[in-house]
Amino acid sequence: MVNNIEVLERGPEKSTLEQEKILQIDNLKKHFPVKSGVLQRTKGHVRAVDGINFYIKKGESFGLVGESGCGKSTAGRTIMRLYEPTEGKITFDGEDISTQKERHLFKLRREMQMIFQDPFSSLNPRKTVGSMLVEPLKVHGLYKGSKERKEKCQEIMSRVGLNPSFLNRYPHEFSGGQRQRIGIARALVLEPKMIVADEPVSALDVSVQSQVLNLLDDLQVDFDLTYLFIAHDLSVVKHFSDRIGVMYLGNMAEVAEKTDLYDDPLHPYTQALLSAVPRSHPRERKRERILLEGELPSPANPPNGCVFHTRCPHVMDHCKEIEPKMQEVKPNHYVACHLYE
């Protein structure tokens, strides 16, 4: 897996690409110990993220998709350093942040913020919106006077489409869509360079979902933001992202530009995933569908070789033994599959 890095860095535009990169993930792993018994001995590991590689360019939206349990949220949280990485390197803005101590992460917290899925549980019910927005400013010592801080909060509130006078209200007074806007305001108030958005619209109604997606789009231009957009809904990810990575069982199956990925999916898993998405018009109903057999294996005991071989319609003998390496099959289109070797 380690020599994947070279593959990712190949190409004539290497030097400009290096400059453009804001985030580089090399062989990132996050294993959770499984403990049991009276002595809480470690009985094994859940390999939630098991060696993934990708990079994100400045000003880009990178979509991370996959089904539940594929490790996409764990990847997002490990990149934020909310989880301690088991192995691998996270380079953010030219700096290796994977091994830094907690107190050195202070600067990182300001530059990388997160938006969560559930707008109901991610806001403290006992705090007003105002105090939630002011707190990060105080912690980071920005805007010295309380008046200036308040002005900043009001500005952010109106920027995310909320009335600045709502600063004195509590979360329960808002609808789901409004709460998600508060979550976005809280992430934006520190003017971060990058936002990790973990399923930011999946808890919202369809008509509200499009409002929030449009808002995130606008903010990206205004604040010069880079997004890591984690979602399970392939239509939403397609709409929102520039490049997309598809994860399966802790591994990255395919990384490509959005149009490449949707028009010409190479990995058998991506093909099955895309063919399963309901189409937006009844006349598309009669298309061929690739139905996956069997169930998702447990990440505590992933299959040998290619993790997808147990369900792959194109499985070959060596898929069961040799783990496929990520390779650039078409320009900027990376896939980890023995079919393309």
């Binding site: 109604d205 449009n214 998405v277 309901p278």
Partner: protein
């Protein structure tokens, strides 16, 4: 009521009562389902779609909720008037229901086999052995290869998709005339959702059951339904065939809903969105329920509630834009 109508809901009205105020959650809802047909009820949270299905099954949470008016004709009987004992015989036998959460709708302390057998024995008055046999056959029908082992398993041993298939097997085991599926695939991953939708399509053909599919996901509707009822604020705002809904939506809400979903085919620069949020039942505007969010709102919309009118034999819409008389005014407004 024609020969092949399975269910006929007429002017159904369900309200919740709190401190002497009445909140209508289902407000004058009418529709019918034919034999073998799949009807989708579409709406966002708070639109009253789930309450409609619970009203049909007479499962409205009491004492706060109550059916206050209307009729639900099933097999020539008005279900609203039936006593509890008759309803026990209807539920799970003539009308079955699949819920959104396969995790909570199975009892964790009984095996799958015990739960499948129980309802078969209750409804069909057969022996345990016969019920076991039917249970195994049903599990095979919904795609379990090791049906014998599954019968002995407890629900926690199964994945979400497997549990939903067990629920479908149970729901269909008494050959119901009507299957109500309330968000059957919402909690599932796309690849599993595709399996379940294929299964439901296959089974509705095989068993000739009518299906009421309740969902917020227009993609699922496009995959499965033949006719669509769109609900908003407790009311039916539009009813049409699946092609008409997707090609030529009449109500501004339906139009907005269709434009606001990202499409997997093609790319859009920007999504259209409906401004504002879904109103809660205690906070409905005067006049049309959609008036505060409607791009075509006219004066009359703020004053009087529109009625559901028949556009033609198969289409109904609740909007002044499509009523004779006010129509011209609306189009002027639309172009301005």
């Amino acid at each position: 009521m024609s020969e092949d109508t399975v269910l006929d809901v007429r002017h159904l009205k369900t309200s919740f009562f709190s401190k002497k105020t009445e909140l209508p959650v289902v407000d004058d809802v009418s529709f019918s389902v034919k034999k073998g047909e799949t009807l989708a009820i579409v709406g966002e949270s708070g639109s009253g779609k789930s309450m409609t299905s619970l009203s049909i099954m007479r499962l409205v949470p009491s004492p706060n909720g109550k059916i206050v008016g209307g009729e639900v004709f099933f097999n020539g009987k008005d279900l609203v008037q039936q006593n509890d004992k008759t309803m026990y015989k209807v539920r799970g036998n003539d009308i079955s229901m699949i819920f959104q959460e396969p995790m909570t709708s199975l009892n964790p302390v009984y095996t799958i086999g015990e739960q499948i057998r129980e309802q078969l024995i209750y409804h069909q008055k057969i022996s345990k052995r016969e019920a076991h046999q039917i249970g195994i056959e049903m599990l095979q029908t919904v795609g379990f290869s090791r049906a014998n082992d599954i019968m002995k398993d407890y629900p926690h041993r199964l994945s979400g998709g497997m549990r939903q298939r067990v629920m479908i097997a149970m729901a269909l085991s008494n050959n119901p005339k009507l299957l109500i599926a309330d968000e059957p695939t919402t909690a599932l991953d796309v690849t599993v959702q595709a399996q379940i939708l294929d299964l439901m399509r296959k089974l509705s053909k095989e068993y000739d059951s009518a299906i009421i599919l309740i969902t917020h996901d227009l993609g699922v509707v496009a995959e499965l339904a033949e006719r669509v009822v769109v609900m908003y604020g407790g009311q039916v705002v539009e009813e049409a065939s699946i092609e008409d809904i997707f090609d030529d939506p009449l109500h501004p809400y339906t139009e907005g809903l269709l434009n606001s979903i990202p499409k997997i085919e093609g790319t859009q620069e920007r999504l259209d969105s409906i401004p504002g949020t879904v109103p809660t039942p205690d906070n409905l505007p005067v006049g049309c329920n959609f008036v505060t969010r409607c791009p075509y709102a006219m004066e009359i919309c703020k004053q009087e509630e529109p009625t559901l009118i028949d556009k033609d034999s198969s289409r109904k819409v609740r909007c002044y834009l499509h009523e004779e008389g006010v129509k011209n005014h609306g189009q002027q407004h639309r172009s301005s």
